[in-house]
Symmetry: D3
Subunit: 243 residues, 6 copies
């Protein structure tokens, strides 16, 4: 089985940390194929960055040879996930949806701890769209830029721990969700430290896709995720034209 | 890894079919431990039956020796799932929640096809509680008693196919969910026949639990799923007293 | 008119206090028939206890001779209320639903004060299911075990008063709902003390059932509350088999 | 106990039919005080009529001497119910809220059958405000003007029966609610004819108020239903000035 | 183009301030016709006042000669807006709906700052009815009676500023909505002072109506806003009888 | 005043028709600046096309010299509207949000008629996000590809009229919304033909922006629409790097 782990930003070190976490949970015989966006934003911090992260991610997925059994979109905004679902009948999941589904099995309510305040509204929109607005107590920002998560000396972890404490104390959360791909390697330690499940979405997404692929389930091609109608895109995007 | 597959009704043939489906998708090294309720209702068809299905299922789970890495509640009402979560920190999922989460990854809306009209309100309640009321277009009853699903000559499959057709035609569903454990072995063929994902929850639940166990995630013990307070139950239920 | 007041736990003193309150509001000619569960949990504190409270309560109701004009389920979790509705066409109501309906007539928003944190998620689920999630500002736990409410020296009342104060100050509540059967005799005094309606559900349920019985309204037998299909339950539960 | 039954329209024959139904269910010692609006619209059919129904109803209530233990607003739009609650601490309920609460105890979902299409949006708004949008399957109009309900030869009953049939067949309703005060005397016969609870709100409201009065519960005076601030209204409405 | 600005209270100085603000934003050739209710409450502070504000406003609108291209209801309760829509096919909007729609274009969430606590529940009801319950973080009361807003020495502005600060700090609001017509002239300065959009509804409503009139769009006369059925109102309200 | 009308697809004839409609409603002194995406998809039909429509639209907006007082995103998916809001403090609105707000002023419920079935789920998501899920009765597809709307002989209009008829007959809609920029010039005639408001979003958006600009209201820069953090985008997208 071959699962793509697509990082829609260009920061290879983040892809590596995600791939490493993914590999630790992947079943025997599952190949994790990490993709880093070949161009575009180095981190996705709000609505604007998101826009420029999707075409490069799609290009990387499109150009990958060989069969694919599932695709993880490795950004907590689930950037471009609907478009990728329309590209292929292999199942596709973003790390936000994966984490929220996981959290909702483990407790009666959760809070999300993400990086920056400016990212919160985009998350609130997809949390609601996925059906988890009643389960999600609050989306908290630790006021940590995404790339500081790459630097273990940045104080980012302290800030995240502070928000987890507040989530447990004030939000009546039973579970905590880490709301950024860059927090991928903190979940095990933080679960231990706080004595509650601290969920991150990369590993969750890999296991969900393994499951879907094993069950032979594929994205529906009726209505919303039907293959794009054949048309010729103009200019710089002509290479993305749907056949 | 050792996953319990608890059938809360007493019909062993249904447990066997569930266990067989579960085994086909389980990863190498995963042991599926099927449990059939030792007493109680032979099928769960509505609110009344549900009540009498839970203590025997809990008894079977409690009496099972050895470590457990996850528990599937094998009834689409997710009968007793909250109580089981309070018993243990191993992750627990019902086949309804597992199927709905799976369906919501594969398409933008789904309909559920269940057995009897009288079961529909109980399902509508948990679908809403899980957050999928906006994703679920409709819960349809095929007017087939649960145990007719054990008899391959019963015409049950025809009735189910009729409802799937109506779901695709009238409900604007992109995915179909089979709303009864007794339909466990129909999903692959029906997916093929209708050209859309037809999801059933037993296999979905097994893969979700494998994922949780691999990630080391356990049920939160804060608030709602805290261990039951120690007390002495009276009479016939004294054996269930929480320590 | 003969109304059953079923306490699903085994604590007779709590039944007595409930029956006393019920009798004080019952119309002339209304007989309150108190039932205490003959076995099972002495108090219901969360999802696990709930499971073991229902069969004994149903047994007590089933074994009661004579006509019945309505049934109160005397636990704020409304434990087993759907199953009891399927048993009989006499109207049935739990004290949570009764209290919430009452509160929503008296003000524009209410908070619930219950016993323990672990009971809150179960209450949030039924509050939402009954349609009152927008009216309910918050479910507060006073951190008082249920049976301490039987002991007038326990400090329970102080803790409850503290939460009422916070509800009025912080939750913008116009009404307070007492979220445990064990608080049945506090509502009158607390209403007076705080100058707002403090609603409890036992008396509310009795008056709602009196009304339904007088109007000749019975539980619908279509779909969800249709009589259970006839089947033979196995073993210890054979006596509960629906005819 | 003295309960006011306020008909906000000027049609005395409708008040009489309501009062007759109310008296049949009222407990011994309960006096029903029927009030017909002294001026204004003879029937309330949509948003415009509603506006002119409230001041006369309030005038009639205000001018009534003696103690009052509760007030029914006898129009399914619950016309002016919030204003009346602010006038007095006696409990107040409209027949729509009373009927919906009653229906939600008797089944898992209901449809409302009202008079005219133009009244439906106003009802949908209050049904949602009361929290019953998920319980209410549909509001159906029988295309019968309100005052035709006063004429037993009008064919109105046939039209209503047709909509009840459609509600049971197409809406998956378990209970039917009659959505106009003018239908007050049809509920018993229609319940019998259709074999499901057919609820009307006048009797339901009387029994709910009896309950509240017996329990000593009054409208909250905090926030939304605080007594109106003292001020002098100008001109024709000076008599309504809050003291 | 001729737009009516109807103040449903009798305080002419408030109408003047509204008309002045309206004129400053009206396009060339747009005539603002201010109407002050000829009788009734001098300010609208809660459910009771509202009732007596609508007939005089309707009378003023009805008696106005000449063509009308749109009508603003100049009270944040949107008092009587549905009735006015049924009177005419000219488009009608209340300042609450106008302000909320405006706010939802400018940010991802807003808080409303209104006058008195007692007005909050009425606002919460219409905010939810208009679809903005998920966008509205909170309705805050500055504890300022409406007519103190007419007095520039009243300290009202300080109180409003305090609530805006709290909205930005605690509610995660990106936009602030002023929840009373009497605050009409504060929005520009407060926007500047706080560096976020502070929206008020009078000017917003004028511009929305200009747009509708220019596009030739009129209120739908199907169903809810169909012209009132012809009938004779009794007594003091006979002049309001729909033809 | 200078308003940008950005067509995110590359079909200039559609831009022209939109600009022509916009000019007919624009106030004196308002300049409509039409922009056609310089490259990318010629029409947006579902999630995939959407992705490739945004960078070219942003490029066109970015490269436009001179002051801008507001920006219309001229596609009913409101493609990229959140990103554009983060680019500038000029107000920005998509034609879907503009049309839905307009429709909700004119009636109590509306249906949307769009082009293709595959576009419906994307619309349902934003309709819900904007708060109009309870007002929107249904999104209907006329089964007409977008570019057939450019061809007056295509039969597209017939198909749209058929869906409008069904919306009025079956959906209980009081207003109809045209769900594609390509339908921009049909609204006036269809309003006349069907006797209900038929709303399209281009003209609505222009008038809303005129209003915002006149009032001096700008997009909030707090949280979600804060300016993108300065960073260097890699490769082909380097020109989009936020400063």
């Amino acid at each position: 089985m071959r699962l793509v782990l697509a990082n829609p930003n260009t920061t290879g070190s983040m892809t590596e940390r995600m791939a490493s976490a993914a590999s630790q949970v992947a079943a025997d015989g599952v190949e994790i194929v990490p993709l880093t966006s070949p161009y575009g934003p180095p981190s996705i911090e709000g609505f604007y960055d998101e826009v420029f992260a999707v075409p490069p991610m799609i290009e990387a997925i499109r150009d990958l040879g060989g069969p694919v059994d599932g695709i993880v979109v490795g950004c907590f905004d689930d950037t471009g996930v609907h478009a990728v679902r329309a590209m292929t009948d292999a199942p596709v999941i973003g790390i936000c949806q994966a984490a929220l589904q996981t959290a909702s099995v483990l407790g009666n309510g959760f809070s999300v701890v993400t990086t920056l305040d400016r990212s919160v509204p985009a998350l609130e929109k997809i949390i609601s769209d996925y059906g988890f607005d009643r389960h999600c107590r609050r989306v908290r920002a630790a006021d940590v830029p995404v790339l500081e998560l790459e630097d273990s000396n940045s104080g980012a972890r302290n800030a995240i721990e502070g928000e987890i404490e507040r989530a447990l104390e004030h939000d009546r959360a039973e579970v905590v969700v880490l709301g950024c791909a860059g927090m991928v390697d903190l979940s095990v330690e933080l679960s231990r430290a706080f004595g509650v499940p601290v969920v991150e979405g990369v590993t969750a997404a890999v296991k969900i896709l393994e499951g879907l692929a094993t069950m032979g389930l594929k994205t529906s091609r009726r209505r919303g995720y039907a293959p794009p109608r054949s048309k010729v895109y103009g200019g710089a995007f002509s290479g993305f034209s749907p056949e």
